[in-house]
Amino acid sequence: MKKYDTIIIGAGPAGLTAGIYLARAKRSVLIIDSGSAGGQMILTHKIANYPGVLDISGYELANNMKKQAKSFGCKILSSSDITKLDIAGKEKFIQVDGEDDFSADSVIIATGGEPRSLGLDSEKKFKGKGISYCATCDGDFFQDKDIVVIGGGNSALEEAVSLTKYASSVTIVHQFDHFQGYEHAIREAQDHPKIKIILESDVEEFIGDESLTSVRIKSNKDGSTQDLNVTGGFIFIGYIPRTSVFKDILDINNRGEILVDSDLKTNVKGVFAAGDVIEKKVRQVTTAVSDGSVAALGVIDFLNSH
C-alpha cells in the first residue's frame, strides 16, 4: 500500500491549489478525481474574472493548474473511483477502482458540485438526442430550430441568450415566478426578441421517438399542461455538492454542504474540506483557489504537530 502525507479527493481548482501548496512544502500528495482534472472549470467556455489572466478558456486554466501541480510532484489519478473510504481514524485509507490501496495522514475533500438533473427517465433517454447541458458544445445542432431552456439562474439566462445565435426561438421554462439571476442578465433575456418566458412551470416529460420532438410543461399555478414543439432542451438548474460518500462520516448540512471551521477543518481530525463542497455563499474559481490554499496550510500545520 502506497502511503502519502495527504490525499486530496477532487482535482478542481480547490484540490489542485491545495496540491500545489502541499507539494511545494515538500509533502507527498495524491490527488484522486472520479472525472477529469479541472472540475467545473472545464465546463466553462471562457473565464474572464480570474485576476491576472485576461481571458482564458476554462480548459486552458484547468490544464495550467494541473501541469503546475504535477510539476511540483503531485500524483494525479483522474477517472478513478473511490471504492473504499475509511478516513475516521488516525491513518486514512482509500481504495481506488477496487484494486489500488492508498493511505495518508491527512485528507482534503474538494469534490465540488455536479449539475442538478431533473431526474426524469425521459431526460436520460434523450441525452445527446435533444437534451444537452452545454450551449457552446451543442448549440450549432439547433440552427433554426425551436428549443427550450430549463432554469432561472444566471447560467440559464446567459445560455438562453447565447443560444439565440443558432435557434429560431428559445423558450425559458422556470419553476418560480421570478428569476434568480443578476438584473442585467434577466433584462437581456426578457428583452430579447427570440426569447419567450414561461414562469411557474415544471417540465413533466420530454417526448419523441428517436430524438426529442416536444416537451410537456405543467403549470405550478393551476396544474394545466401544454406541449411545446421543440427539438432541443438545455438544462441549467444549478449544482449540488458531491458529498454523498461522506454523509456518514462528516458533519453535513441539509443542503449537502460540508461544515468546516475557519481553518477548513471538518469534524474529523486530519480531514479538511475546500471549495464548492463546503457551506459558503460564493462559489467561484477564486474562492475555490483561496479555500485550497487555506486547507493546504491547515494540513501542513496539522502534519507538523502530529
Binding site: S79, I131, C137, E210, T231
Partner: protein
Amino acid sequence: MLGTNLNHIESASSLEKTINENENVMVCCGRMGPMCLPVYDVMENLEDKYEDVKFFDMEFDNPEAAIIRNLPECRSFQGLPFVVYYKNGKVAKATSSIQNKDEVKAILNDKFGTPE
C-alpha cells in the same frame, strides 16, 4: 488535430484502415469542449486496461470526419462527442454526448469483452 494524448485519426482512409486492421476500435469524434474532454480523459485512463482495444480521437470539424458524422447510427445525434465502437470493421455501438467511465466501460465490456 485535437490536443489530447490519444492517437488521432485524421482522414477517412486512415479510419477505414484502422478498423479493418484492428478487431476492436473506439473512436471519439469531438471538439476540445466540456462535453468531449471528460470522454477523452476516460479513454486515456482505460487505454492501459483494455489492451485489446485501440482508442482514437477524430476532430469533429475535420471534413474527413463526415465518415462518422454521416453514419446511419449517428443520424439522430445532437450532442458532442459522437463516440463509435467498431468490431471487425463494423459499427457495434454509437453514443452521443458526454459519457462517464462506468458508461464507457459497460459498452467496452459488452461489445469487446471484459479485460482479464
